[in-house]
């Protein structure tokens, strides 16, 4: 690492290396300690065209919702899907790719890890907004389905009843959380690892409960762009419609099943004799 730094310093036209400069560069490169083995930005500056061809960066593709854009009519119009997915979601993704193009420090992460890494423990890097919003929206489309709503079943229902008393109580709390959110944000049903409980969590702007190591089960986009074309200012109607007709408890079941590999939710039922 040090030799490549020195090489970079010598071949660039910057002033002769002093201990001050060296410190600045290394502190810049070691921003995230576990990445000290990766190439630091300084080295890129003196790479020529041939070097550029061998540089590897990560790009992400726009994931489609698991249903056609008009499949959620009349509860969420095709127009909303077109603008929300095709406009907002796509812009976040293209923004993210443009940012990743300039930085190969963030290469090699899975998407979940990318969100946590760019969150940088509360001091988000500029890529966080785009990365987290892409993640959030992917999760949101998959949290809905045509013919959704109704009630959760089996394990999910059991856990909801255990942690909220009843489905009705959970539903009330979820709706209240959505309606009392100030500004742009999201409402989540998450499984908390430590407490081993389901909880309702609200986040602002782009924040995603992944950054606190929670396991999201369901989410609802409360940014105005999510409902304005269909419901204008009537947030209450939007949230009710989501609960009654859109939310995918099937997706919740799949996510819960996966979560149980990481969180021990109950004692195993060992039959006696």
């Amino acid at each position: 690492m040090l030799s490549s730094l020195t090489r970079a310093m010598l071949s660039s036209s910057s002033p002769p290396p002093s201990s001050h400069l060296l410190l600045t560069h290394s502190s810049h490169c070691l921003k995230t300690p576990n990445l000290s083995h990766r190439q630091c930005k300084q080295q890129k500056r003196w790479t020529h065209g041939s070097q550029r061809a061998s540089r590897v960066v990560a790009y992400y593709g726009l994931k489609e919702p698991p249903y056609k854009l008009d499949a959620l009519e009349p509860y969420m119009s095709r127009r909303t899907l077109e603008v929300h997915w095709g406009g907002h979601h796509r812009n976040y993704l293209e923004g993210l790719n443009k940012q990743l193009e300039k930085s190969d420090i963030l290469y090699g992460y899975t998407f979940d890890e990318l969100v946590k890494a760019t969150y940088n423990n509360g001091n988000p890097l500029p890529e966080f907004n785009n990365a987290a919003q892409v993640w959030n929206h992917d999760f949101f489309w998959e949290s809905m389905q045509p013919g959704g709503g109704d009630m959760p079943k089996l394990g999910v229902l059991e856990q909801i009843e255990k942690d909220f008393g009843s489905y009705t109580s959970f539903r009330e709390k979820f709706i209240e959380a959505a309606l009392t959110l100030f500004g742009s944000g999201w409402v989540w049903l998450v499984l908390k690892r430590e407490e081993r409980q389901l909880k309702i969590v609200r986040t602002s702007n782009a924040i995603c409960p992944l950054v606190w190591d929670d396991i999201p089960i369901i989410c609802l986009d409360m940014w105005e762009h999510a409902y304005y074309l269909d419901y204008k200012n009537e947030r209450g109607k939007y949230v009710d419609t989501f609960m009654n007709h859109l939310v995918s408890w099937n997706a919740a079941m799949v996510r819960m099943a996966r979560a149980e590999a990481f969180v021990n939710l109950g004692e195993p039922n060992i039959p006696v004799a």
Binding site: V83, G87, H88, N91, N129, F182, G183, S184, G185, S204, N205, A206, W223, E224, H225, Y228, L229, K232, N233
Partner: protein, 229 residues
Amino acid sequence: MALRALAARKSLAGSGFQRILGARGLQTFSLPDLPYDYGALEPAISAEIMQLHHQKHHQAYITNYNKALEQLDAAIAKGDASAVVKLQSAIKFNGGGHVNHSIFWNNLSPVKEGGGEPPHSSLGWAIDQSFGSFDALITKMNAEGAGLQGSGWVWLALDKELKKVVVETTANQDPLVTKGASLVPLLGIDVWEHAYYLQYKNVRPDYLKNIWKVINWKYASQVYEKESA
């Protein structure tokens, strides 16, 4: 609508909040009338947006602000400190929403009443001083407005201490003073999605480009002259 045009020609300069005294002397607030028709700002801002923005969103802030004030009053009377503190975010949000939108309606005016005409005299000079040119200011405010993540406002403000005009942004409904006690709002542009979504969808930069055609620089100049005296 014609009645509104005739009757509601009241000036909203300064503090134009209409106050109604409540049962226990608590001052509550009500929706100020717009000094122009809902359709007067077309095509920069559609009539549909103006009506929803004024009658639904601003009204909701006022309703919730009044509710929060009543609860605050009760909590203060009971000496319930934790309830008082808990209400602060609702007051900041809804009260801020009311304050900000009241300023916003004054910041807009129809083209035939001078909307969009650049400022002259002292404010124009101050802008040239701080930003180089009027166009540079527009570019800066558009950039800040477009770059604002989530919901918020972008402001042209007078910093009374530094005696210059500055561009600031605030998140959600935070009033400008949260960014500095010496800041006085001259112009605020609402970049919450409800302010433009029906017309411009997700293309916030287009909204920002077009809103300058209906910005009321006369009002901004008046405030500037008064506050920098």
